[in-house]
């Protein structure tokens, strides 16, 4: 036991103090912030400018309503839209338009809105600006003018615009999830899907990442001929346990750092940064299942990666062999759409029992649909027993493989290793 502990410590220290580890651990949260903050920052930056707009109003009645409608203010308290009515009678309309366009080119104004006299019938207005891709700006004008024109039409027909608005109020639908325990949680479909997706991606990424780290570290110790030196005082099983637990604790460290960071963001981030947390919907129960499936999935897959590492001699050889293992992880990802749509269909239920897929599939189902407890327990038990079986098989391969150099063994040869005493 002490020997395993010494191996774990060494493995842990070596990985955690590596520059790449520190880099990834710190960079990931920064990236997450960036993804949450940058878009809203950009939005804010854009809207900090006063939009100077000239309006050519051939109808004569829209401008005043428009000025009232576009009453958004900036954080400075200034009005966002500075509207100026252009006198229309002074010039021929063609010349007027050209002279106004010139003002845009000279940057004297930001935008020009031309409202034709027949707008009520044609339903068309013209918008000119240097940059016409500003979605928010376009929408503000379109909505404001549109509403004025529609109100005008309604009034013309003799109806009261307020009554019409009241009658045509859109419907609001609230989505509520009913769980087996009878709890109700009011969540949007989007948030449901989003948090599940995030957790599944974390599962998938880390299973591959830490698994292949173990594999590479075995290949490296094999090629630098360290393994046999270690076998002078330990046995292969201790070596294997040291590797798997060592790298597992490295992964845990990374998770804890990220989780603390996430919690801090959720609790205090809102005060400092414009970040949206409404999509995160994590319940403690889900978290416990996450830990269970992460640990079991990690043990299961890291054992598979350990086997590959012990069989091959180089990273290149390993590439061919990890392909099927990664396929097993990708299949549940590809089924994600189906999982979300019909989480209790028979194919998803069966897949959530198969140890290769269950860490992701069963966890996904628990997130989305509350499957019967017997199925959850069954899935976990099957996973536990198959993990034990896989570790037993891998330890047989490992103890022979780590001392084999040269040609990669064929599958029948590996089977033969089991008969070695």
């Amino acid at each position: 036991m002490n020997k395993i502990w010494a191996l774990i410590k060494r493995e842990y220290k070596e990985t955690v103090f590596k520059k790449s580890f520190i880099f990834i651990t710190l960079l990931t949260p920064l990236l997450m912030i960036a993804m949450g903050v940058v878009p809203s920052l950009i939005m804010q930056l854009k809207s900090e400018d006063v939009v100077k707009t000239n309006v050519i109003d051939h109808t004569g009645y829209i401008f005043n309503d428009l000025e009232k409608a576009l009453n958004d203010t900036l954080s400075t308290g200034e009005k966002q839209f500075n509207l100026v009515k252009v006198p229309t009678k002074t010039m021929h309309s063609e010349d007027l338009l050209n002279s106004q366009k010139k003002l845009i080119q000279d940057n004297s104004i930001d935008a020009l809105v031309v409202i034709p006299a027949n707008v009520s019938d044609s339903g068309k207005v013209n918008f000119f600006a240097m940059s016409v891709s500003d979605y928010v700006l376009n929408k503000s004008f379109r909505n404001a003018i549109g509403k004025i024109v529609i109100d005008r039409r309604i009034k013309k027909s003799g109806l009261d615009p307020d009554i019409i608005q009241e009658l045509s109020r859109p419907l609001v639908m609230t989505t509520t999830k009913i769980t087996k325990q009878g709890e109700e949680s009011e969540t949007g479909f989007q948030s449901e899907y989003f948090s599940t997706f995030i957790l599944i991606m974390i599962l998938y990424m880390t299973l591959i990442m830490y698994g292949s780290t173990i594999m590479r570290s075995i290949i490296q110790e094999k090629s630098s001929r360290i393994i046999e030196v270690l076998l002078g005082s330990t046995n292969p099983f201790q070596l294997m346990a040291g590797k798997i637990i060592g790298h597992g604790s490295v992964g845990m460290t990374q998770y804890i750092i990220w989780a603390l960071f996430g919690i801090a963001m959720v609790l205090y981030g809102g005060n400092v940064l414009p970040i949206s947390t409404k999509y995160f919907n994590f319940q403690p129960g889900i978290f416990i299942y996450f830990v269970i499936f992460y640990l079991l999935g990690y043990l299961f897959y890291s054992a598979l990666f350990t086997a590959i590492g012990s069989i091959v001699n180089t990273d290149q050889e390993a590439q061919q062999l990890i392909f099927p293992v990664i396929m097993f992880l990708i299949v549940p990802l590809m089924m994600l759409g189906m999982l979300v749509k019909s989480p209790n269909s028979s194919i998803i239920t069966i897949m959530s029992m198969i140890p290769f897929f269950s860490p992701i599939m069963m966890f996904g189902r628990i997130n989305i649909s509350n499957p019967p407890f017997i199925e959850i327990a069954g899935s976990i038990l099957i996973l536990i027993f198959s993990t034990i079986a896989v570790i037993w098989i891998v330890s047989k391969i490992f103890r022979v493989g780590i001392l084999m150099y040269g040609k990669r063994p064929t599958f029948p040869e590996i089977i033969k290793w089991f008969s070695y005493k």
Binding site: K13, R225, E228, V229, G232, L403, K416, K421
Partner: protein, 301 residues
């Protein structure tokens, strides 16, 4: 009681018999040589002593206790293919290995300190192993295998791939271990090295024991009583001498083997009146020759 008792061990890989019914005993305080050409089964035998491989049949015991994970801490093992953690700090490496040998971490720190002093590597303690020269790394590697003061040290081809300076370095350490009363088993295909260092030897070929025993006895038993003579005139005078058992005649020189119980003096008495002698060299058979003689010599590299 023998320190190590290997009794009738066999090991096959598929159809290939790597070790076939090998038995030997190692007495405490000796340097024991495991000799044979490459592929003879030396490394397989050593791996079985280290419990890295399990014999198909036969038993191995250390201090009368069957070999297992527990006995590993009484052995210091340096494999033929030996690497060292390049990225670890020198001091951490030594501490790590003491823990791996089953000693507590506090004792590890103390031992690391002592060994760094002894190896004159103290100023390198906080450097990474990769910054050390090859020679220093060899010393460090050696230290990491024996710093828990094991009763038995097993070295598999300790000289392979080393320059003469490092070969001497390791020989010195081996003699030092022996003088402190510990036992060494080492394997080599270089018979000359074994001849100088070993007290007892085991020769194996193709997994089968050729012979074993104290090196002096083996020499007496199997070594030929031979001379190399450079001379002029006639070979007939040599053949007539009663002392001569056989003779390989070359132009102006001859390899002569004497009958048991005769010395070169008797040959010289016969020869001196008749032929002109340029030089006479008395030589004992080398282990290599004995090995060739016993193993048929077809498979030696």
């Amino acid at each position: 009681m023998a320190l190590l008792d290997v009794d009738d061990i066999c090991k096959s890989f598929g159809n290939f018999k790597a070790v076939d019914k090998v038995s030997f005993k190692v007495e405490p305080g000796k340097i024991y040589g495991l000799l044979g050409p490459n592929g003879a089964g030396k490394t397989t035998t050593i791996r079985m002593i280290m419990n890295i491989l399990i014999p198909d049949s036969g038993t191995i015991s250390l201090f009368g206790e069957p070999i297992g994970d527990k006995t590993k801490s009484k052995i210091g093992y340096l494999p033929e293919e030996r690497g060292i953690f390049q990225k670890m700090k020198v001091r951490e490496l030594l501490t790590f290995f003491t823990e791996l040998h089953g000693l507590p971490a506090t004792r590890g720190k103390q031992l690391a300190y002592e060994w760094l002093e002894k190896l004159e590597l103290s100023e390198w303690a906080d450097k990474k192993v990769e910054e050390l020269s090859k020679g220093m790394q060899q010393k460090l590697q050696f230290a990491s295998t024996i710093l828990h003061n094991p009763e038995l040290v097993i070295l598999d081809e300790p000289f392979s791939g080393l320059d003469p300076v490092n070969v001497n370095l390791i020989k010195d350490i081996m003699l030092e271990i022996k003088s402190s009363g510990k036992t060494i088993i080492f394997s080599t295909h270089m018979m000359e090295a074994a001849e100088k260092l070993c007290d007892d030897i085991l020769m194996i070929q193709k997994g089968v024991k050729v012979l074993d025993g104290p090196i002096n006895q083996i020499r007496e038993q199997y070594g030929k009583n031979s001379l190399r003579l450079e001379y002029s005139v006639d070979v007939q005078y040599i053949q007539k001498s009663k002392a001569v058992k056989s003779i390989h005649d070359y132009p102006n020189s001859a390899e002569i083997e004497l009958h048991d119980g005769f010395t070169p003096n008797e040959l010289l008495t016969d020869l001196l009146p008749n032929i002109k002698i340029h030089s006479l060299l008395s030589r004992q058979s080398s282990l290599n020759e004995i090995f060739l003689q016993l193993a048929g010599g077809n498979d030696n590299e």
